[in-house]
């Protein structure tokens, strides 16, 4: 599903050029659950953003489901992203002015889906995430765990092939954190590919594979055998 070769990403300010990613090679198979780990500033989020087509690499190739996306324009990236990718952020990133229902509905609107179709999909996903009873609430009226469930609902409502999660439990207590991880695992079992950035050892054990990043380079990759044991 994801094939990254010799990928480089540098940020340039007036005086310094920082190499955030250096010669990264990475493949993620369909149905896989991969965790990217590493210390602050190692380039985890940058890599995730490139995988999520929110950002372009400086050099190298990135193929998503057989399409080369490295040199695409913003508009083309948006088109490819729509419906194929779902995002879950550490700080939830819900729109404060929209209700739970409306937040989840948003990606469907951009897919130009009909109202009745949207309704059905949103209802289904909210039921599944056990947040349907809160559909008329605004984000600030919910707990952190509930907010993240809404964010996950929004990420999966389009049935994306790939979910990208950037420290999804970072702002949650352990109980809510475990709940969120269980949800992601469940989605993965149903066939959704997941790439997650995390600091947390506990969370990383939910993944099939752990990719360790240090100073912009992949230092180790390890298959995780203990997945079932954690649940």
């Amino acid at each position: 599903m994801i094939k990254i070769q010799n990928l480089k990403k540098s940020f340039r300010t007036e005086e310094v050029e920082t190499l955030a990613l250096n010669n990264v090679n990475l493949s993620v198979q369909e149905g896989e659950f991969a965790a990217i780990m590493g210390p602050s500033g190692c380039g985890k989020s940058t890599l995730l953003n490139i995988i999520g087509m929110l950002d372009n690499p400086t050099e190298g190739s990135y193929e998503f489901a057989g399409h080369e996306v490295g040199g695409l324009k913003e508009r083309q990236r948006t088109q490819l992203r729509k419906g194929n990718l779902g995002f879950v952020f550490q700080s939830f990133n819900l729109i404060d002015e929209l209700t739970v229902y409306e937040n989840v509905e948003l990606p469907l609107i951009y897919l130009k889906m009909s109202k009745s179709e949207r309704k059905e999909k949103v209802r289904t996903v909210l039921e599944r995430m056990k947040i349907a009873h809160r559909e008329k609430h605004f984000p600030q009226q919910l707990s952190g765990g509930q907010q993240q469930r809404v964010a996950i609902s929004r990420a999966v409502v389009t049935n994306p092939k790939l979910i990208l999660a950037d420290e999804p439990t970072g702002n949650l207590d352990s109980k809510n954190g475990i709940e969120v991880m269980n949800l992601l695992t469940e989605l993965n079992k149903e066939g959704t590919t997941i790439v997650m950035v995390t600091h947390s050892d506990r969370d990383s054990h939910y993944a099939h594979r752990i990719i360790n990043l240090f100073d912009g380079q992949i230092v180790t990759e390890s298959q995780n055998r203990a997945v079932g044991a954690m649940i």
Binding site: D55, R75, T78, N93, I95, E97, L98, L106, Y110
Partner: protein, 808 residues
């Protein structure tokens, strides 16, 4: 999609109440002010635009030259011009002569009814102009002598009905008129507003009869007073027709004017330009001021731009708050194009709400606006397509101008950066925001400096000594119905009045201070001078008591006195006239003899210059000529006690000596100050809109200060932790705004100075632009701005730093 935009926009509007009130309220005030001014301007520019043939109708305008120098400009010209031009120039399709004549009195049920605005008009009047007729044939109604067309309200006054055609009316002077037409009262946006239109043929017949058939006005080239309107053939170039005038004038010029080295030029003035661009001698009605109209238009422009700038400033300042939403929308699949649409949609929502609010405000303030501006706006306005057209135009331009920048900026945010909170506000945005604030300050300062100048000038004109004492002076309007016994009646009237202890002096004159002189005499020179030195002078005919009545100061010679039997052959010059005729020292002029229309007069005195009219006008060369039995205004000097009784006493004497004439009086000082009404109104309107502009600008400043402070909350916290005092932090925050204001001040000085000097040039007697006119507005704006900013900054600087630092 739009429903989603609407939800977000509406909810964020409700959530950020202060921001929304500032934005919508400011925009609404701006739009209201703009709409009011636009209405005012469109009314002022609508004069004469209802004539079907307006593109082809011109008024003949006459410029008089003395020794090659322009001396006077006239709305009315020679009687012979119209017919002579028509005969010689085939491109002239038609012409109509209109001659203003004095008020008339009609007896209705034994009551003297005075009718003003009386004119003689040529038979083409109703075919050339598009005034609405109620009854009568436009082709023929003013053809015959002793026929007249009257306005509907005049018909109602005289006959009690508008069905007056065929009836006869007897007017003062014993002339009978057959009514051949009744027209609707003239609309307010036209200059000529006759109540009574006698046929021009009547005038021709009167001239012929009075001169035993020797005179014909169609041959008069030396006498002014005839308004001539000309209708050109379709497709004719006015300047081409104008170019043919000089030859015709030259051919007909009299020996008299040829010798006196004077000449006359005729020009064609498009009828639609009269109201705003013409203010000449013998205008048949008040005219407007094009400068004022366009100045107001400029103010409207300023106000609305200030309001739009507020929107842009606040929307972009708030960008941080919106950035997250943009990031999320992009992450879930929105294209930039869709975000741009969304932000335009929001701008449309804000502008639309402001527009609604503006309509409500407008409906509420129309009466007050009319009061201040002297306009006649009414709710009929809301039914006019032009009004809605203006509204839609304001809305569209507003959405575009205020929406573009925020839309482009906000939609450009990169989701990666904003969602990670790595948003750094761009330097470019800050520069733009600051420039816009500077622009608002410049506009506010400009308007405030302007207001101050206008008020100071009006105050100056009212306070300035005229060189005449016009206090405690009652004026009685000249009698219309008089006969050969007038001289005796006048003397008896004066003597009767002087018996009242409350009346100290009574004088009569052809005009009074505050009124145009009207009598302009050319060809005047010293007997010893050559003809080509002859010049034009203004002349007032006065009786013996006039000089004392107004406390005129004589700088040489003496005033008129009955002790000298020869005084009717004497004149008094003012200082300007003495200078014009060729003397530096007034004493030298005494005893000199002048030629005045074939007779000789001796200069016996020289009066100091005085302001006959508004201080807008310069001193003019003026001749006071003694006419002991002058027919004109009576001026009555009264004591300040029991004025009501004095007025009643005067009426008793008036009715006794001038029966059949309405008793009409006013106080001279009020009348004189009435000349400044237009300026005062302008001052008020200017002041009002300046206030609004400053209010709107302050609203924006308040909003911007709130956001700036919010953004600097962390900085303030750190500074406080490091030991900064509240005062120190306030200074820091003020410094930024004070710098912008100072910059605006420097920019506004030359602009305001230029505009104010330009405006003041319209006044012959004017104030000098004092430094305080600039310093004071600066101080005012500085204080208002600092107060506005303080509200937020004090709150921020007093806050406990722990709170602001913990939010990170």
């Amino acid at each position: 999609m739009f429903k989603n935009y609407l939800k977000v926009a509406w909810r964020s509007l409700i959530k950020n109440k202060t921001y929304s009130i500032i934005n919508v309220g400011g925009l609404a005030i701006g739009i209201t002010a703009c709409l009011l001014i636009l209405q005012y301007v469109s009314y002022e520019t609508s004069y004469e635009n209802f004539h079907a043939k307006k593109e082809r109708i011109y008024r003949l305008h006459q410029d008089r030259y003395n020794a090659g120098k322009l001396s006077t400009q006239w709305a009315a010209g020679a009687f012979a011009a119209g017919n002579s031009f028509k005969d010689a120039i085939p491109e002239i399709e038609d012409y109509v002569k209109v001659v203003e004549t004095g008020d008339i009195v009609v007896n209705v049920d034994n009551e003297a009814l005075k009718i003003d605005e009386v004119y003689f008009a040529g038979s083409s009047f109703f075919t050339m102009f598009s005034y609405d007729l109620i009854d009568g044939d436009p082709e023929t109604m003013l053809k015959e002598p002793k026929t007249a067309a009257i306005s509907a309200s005049t018909a109602l006054k005289i006959f009690g009905t508008t069905e007056a055609v065929g009836k006869t009316v007897l007017i003062s002077g014993g002339r009978n008129y057959r009514i051949t037409g009744v027209y609707k009262d003239m609309p307010s946006n036209t200059q000529l507003k006759p109540n009574f239109l006698a046929s021009y043929a009547t005038f021709q017949e009167m001239v012929r009869t009075n001169s035993n058939g020797e005179q014909n006005p169609e041959e008069w080239w030396d006498s002014d007073g005839c308004l001539t309107y000309i209708l050109l053939q379709e497709g004719t170039d006015a300047s081409f027709v104008e170019s043919k005038f000089p030859a015709i004038v030259e051919e007909n010029q009299s020996d008299f004017s040829r010798q006196s080295n004077s000449s006359t030029t005729y020009l064609l003035r498009p009828i639609e330009d009269i109201h705003l661009y013409s203010n000449y001698m013998m205008e048949p009605g008040p005219t407007g001021n094009g400068k004022t109209v366009y100045l107001l238009l400029g103010i409207a422009f300023f106000i609305i731009i200030i309001a739009w700038v507020n929107y842009i400033n606040l929307a972009t300042a708030r960008a941080l708050g919106r950035a997250k939403e943009v990031g999320i929308r992009k992450a879930v699949g929105s294209e930039r194009r869709q975000l741009i649409t969304q932000f335009f949609f929001e701008s449309a929502l804000f502008n639309g709400l402001a527009l609604l609010l503006a309509l409500i405000i407008m409906a509420a303030v129309i009466p007050a606006f009319n009061e201040i501006s002297g306009q006649q706006l009414s709710y009929v306005l809301f039914s006019k397509p032009g009004f809605w057209g203006g509204l839609i135009a304001l809305f569209s331009v507003g959405v575009f101008l205020s929406g573009t920048y925020p839309a482009l900026v906000l939609s450009r945010f990169k989701p990666v950066e904003v969602l990670k909170g790595r948003m750094v506000s761009t330097e470019q945005g800050i520069v733009l925001r600051k420039s816009l604030v500077v622009f608002q300050f410049v506009a506010s300062l400009f308007l405030l400096i302007g207001t101050l100048t206008v008020y100071q000038q009006i105050q100056y004109m009212r306070d300035q000594s005229l060189g005449l004492d016009i206090d405690q002076t009652l004026v009685v309007v000249p009698p219309i119905v008089t006969d050969s016994t007038y001289a005796g009646q006048k003397t008896a009237f004066k003597e009767t009045l002087l018996q009242y202890p409350s009346i100290t002096n009574v004088a009569a004159s052809t005009t009074i201070p505050g009124e145009p002189v009207g009598w302009n005499a050319g060809g005047i020179k010293l007997v010893s001078q050559d003809e080509e030195l002859a010049k034009q002078y203004r002349v007032i005919g006065i009786d013996y008591d006039y000089i004392d009545q107004f406390g005129m100061k004589l700088i040489a010679g003496r005033k008129f006195s009955e002790e000298f039997g020869t005084d009717p052959e004497s004149v008094i010059f003012n200082r300007s006239a003495i200078n014009q005729i060729g003397f530096e020292n007034p004493e030298e002029a005494l005893g000199e003899r002048i030629d005045f229309w074939g007779r000789q007069y001796t200069i016996i005195g020289v009066a100091e210059n005085f302001n006959q009219e508004s201080l807008k006008l310069p001193y003019e060369p003026l001749i006071l000529r003694l006419i002991p039995n002058v027919r004109g205004f009576f001026t009555i000097k009264t004591s300040s006690e029991n004025i009501a009784q004095t007025i009643a006493d005067v009426q008793v004497a008036w009715d006794k000596f001038f029966p059949g004439n309405t008793y009409e009086y006013f106080f001279l000082d009020d009348h004189f100050n009435d000349q400044y009404i237009v300026d005062q109104k302008f001052g008020k309107v200017f002041g009002l809109f300046t206030g609004l502009a400053i209010l709107v600008a302050c609203l924006g400043l308040f909003g911007l200060a709130s956001f700036t402070t919010l953004q600097r909350t962390k900085e303030i916290g750190i500074r406080k932790v490091l030991g900064a005092s509240v005062v120190g932090i306030l200074k820091l925050l003020y410094k930024e705004f004070a710098f912008l204001l100072l910059l605006a001040f420097l920019i506004s000085i030359p602009i305001a100075w230029f505009a104010a000097s330009n405006w003041l040039e319209g006044y012959a007697f004017r104030i000098d632009l004092h430094w305080s006119f600039f310093a004071l507005p600066f101080a005012v704006i500085l204080i208002i701005a600092l107060l506005t900013v303080s509200f937020q900054t004090i709150k921020a600087s007093l806050a406990n730093p722990v709170n602001s630092l913990r939010t990170e």
